[in-house]
């Protein structure tokens, strides 16, 4: 019986490990993001990369994380989706001619898409997403935009966040910092502000 239980625990462990993203350490030195621009992290972060999305976190991605969306091309979804193709067709798609208002709508609609989304960016799946204070922002030396976010997770946890972005060479670049409103968002907000202030995009 004990042997069987041990086997079960082992299998469960293997299953859970296979479900986890692979993380590497980001040293607090100038860091290249997807070959498109660089930032200076100032403190060490844990980094995972899934396709065009890079996620940095300290306490865990559901508590707080910086998401770097690197070069979303015309016609692409914000979050990768591997399910039913009919449902994928109903997800918001980036358009290279989007204004800042439409890019904001693209982010919010992607977060709130009523059909299933992938595991990527678990703290960027929300309900009742409110975007506010959309304003111009210099993404490195490029004209861009910034807006703030507040939303609830499916489980009802309150989140705050902000997004900065720009469209360069027909591709959308976004940096989003979001975290649980209680404790975690304010904990690293200043550090995240320093990251976006350090963006260097040639």
């Amino acid at each position: 019986m004990l042997k069987n239980r041990g086997t079960l625990f082992l299998l469960a462990g293997v299953f859970l490990m296979s479900a986890c993203a692979h993380y590497t350490l980001v040293e607090p030195v100038k860091k290249d993001i997807g070959g498109s621009y660089s930032v200076e992290p100032q403190i060490a972060w844990n980094r995972s990369v899934q396709g065009k999305i890079e996620i940095w976190t300290i306490d865990g991605p559901t508590l707080e994380a910086v998401h770097f969306f690197n070069g979303i091309s015309d016609g692409q979804n914000l979050f990768p989706f591997h399910g039913n193709s009919d449902r994928k067709a109903k997800l918001p798609k980036f358009n290279k001619n989007m204004t800042a208002n439409e890019a904001q709508e693209f982010v919010v609609d992607s977060m709130m898409a009523p059909y299933g989304r992938s595991l990527v960016g678990p703290n960027m799946i929300g309900t009742g997403v409110q975007a506010y204070n959309l304003r111009p922002f210099k993404f490195g030396s490029h004209p861009g935009f910034r807006f703030e976010l507040s939303y609830l997770s499916e489980e009802g946890l309150e989140y705050d966040g902000f997004v900065v972005g720009t469209i360069k060479a027909d591709q959308l670049f976004l940096v989003c910092y979001a975290g649980a409103r209680e404790y975690y968002y304010p904990k690293y907000k200043e550090t995240a502000e320093n990251i976006i202030a350090s963006i260097h995009m040639p």
Partner: protein
């Protein structure tokens, strides 16, 4: 308890009760609770946990006035069961309502958006009350348990447990699927819902009207299989005809009722913009077009509806849609009231189509009308860019 652990409880219940014998099921009485040692009590326990989970979900609409309004309708329909039936309004843009065996009801905002009057919502709630009163989920549970369909039941539970981040809609659909009723049960719930609304003084013609509107929407939809309600409620023209016939019979007996449209529109108007925005996020624009058509027929706040008609065209962005969107926004602006965002959307489309002066005017009007706009600085920067 999480959804997954609830599903494990259901599995355990299902497996341990395979040998139980089915018994005749009586209607549930007001205030009645199942005996602790019964399989029904086990079913209630699982549903109590799911209810507790769902009540803290980010999708629940907590607005006290809206919840009070729905509660009043439920109590008006069945005063004796008023304390037994609990509900949550779930912010999901699909048409659905479901009733768990413990008296816990889910009412989705997609249903509330589509109902055109209180009588239509009351009919759907009455239908779900019918399932509860007749203990349909318990009968269904025992039928499944005692037949080879148990495997299908287990698969449904497993599907529900395995969805993970795929979204709680899938979880809710899986739960609704578990208690998908037979056609006879649906017919019985239809009859009960019909009788309940007629007795409560509602216009009983509205029962057929809401089904008919939904069938029209399904027939127009890009993806009719995405109609969650039809997965568990096989709605057919035959059922609509049966309800029309029942309504005609009652009318011939001199019975009449009230749709309570004004009351319904007053209660739901503050939420309609949010529900419409979520409706458009489904990106099934042909189906949403039918929803908008029916809402426009109420004549309530047409400025808002023309604005969302414009938003539909703008988001769909097929050939000629920009022009249609501009026409819809302009129609909204001719109404007594309209969302200031109509001016912003109009400005953005003018700007994109090279009509820069018209764009600048629209943006300026937007900022004048909406000095607290959440995108004030951005729109100001557009004006500066145009100049």
């Amino acid at each position: 308890m999480t959804f997954k652990s609830s599903c494990i409880w259901i599995l355990a219940l299902c497996l341990t009760c395979l040998s139980c014998a089915s018994t005749q099921v009586q209607d549930i009485q007001p205030g009645e609770k199942p005996a602790l040692e019964s399989d029904e009590a086990g079913l209630w326990m699982v549903m109590d946990d799911i209810e507790a989970n769902l009540k803290t979900s980010g999708r629940v609409e907590h607005d006290p006035e809206l919840n009070d309004y729905v509660k009043k309708i439920l109590c008006k329909l069945q005063p004796n069961y008023c304390d037994d039936i609990r509900f949550v309004i779930v912010q999901t843009p699909h048409f659905n309502a479901s009733m768990a065996p413990n008296g816990f009801m889910q009412i989705w905002t997609g249903l509330m958006l589509r109902a055109q009057n209180e009588a239509q919502l009351a009919y759907v709630l009455g239908h779900e009350i019918g399932h509860y009163q007749r203990r349909h989920s318990l009968i269904q549970w025992r039928t499944i348990r005692d037949t080879s369909s148990a495997l299908i039941f287990l698969q449904l539970v497993a599907a529900g447990a395995g969805v993970g981040y795929a979204g709680s809609i899938a979880q809710m659909v899986a739960m609704a699927g578990i208690f998908a009723y037979s056609r006879d049960m649906e017919r019985e719930a239809d009859d009960i819902g019909f009788e309940i609304i007629a007795d409560a003084g509602y216009d009983f013609h509205e029962a057929a009207n809401i089904w008919e509107a939904l069938i029209e929407e399904r027939d127009a939809a890009d993806q009719p299989d995405q109609f969650i309600l039809f997965a568990s409620h096989p709605t057919t023209g035959e059922r609509v005809n049966a309800m029309r016939k029942m309504a005609d019979q009652l009318e011939s007996q001199g019975r009449a009722g009230h749709p309570y449209q004004r009351e319904y529109l007053d209660a739901t108007r503050p939420f309609r913009a949010k529900w419409l925005k979520n409706e458009l996020r489904k990106r099934d624009f042909a189906a949403s077009q039918v929803v908008l058509k029916h809402l426009l027929s109420t004549g309530d706040n047409p400025g808002e509806l023309h604005f969302y008609q414009g938003e539909l065209y703008r988001m769909r962005a097929k050939q000629g849609d920009h022009e249609k969107a501009i026409a819809s926004y302009q129609q909204a602006l001719r109404c007594e009231q309209y969302p200031p965002a109509a001016l912003r959307s109009l400005g953005l489309l003018f700007w994109k189509t090279g009509k820069v002066e018209a764009a600048k005017d629209s943006f300026k009007n937007y900022l004048n009308l909406h000095p607290d706009a959440p995108d004030y600085e951005m729109i100001k920067s557009y004006i500066e860019e145009i100049q």
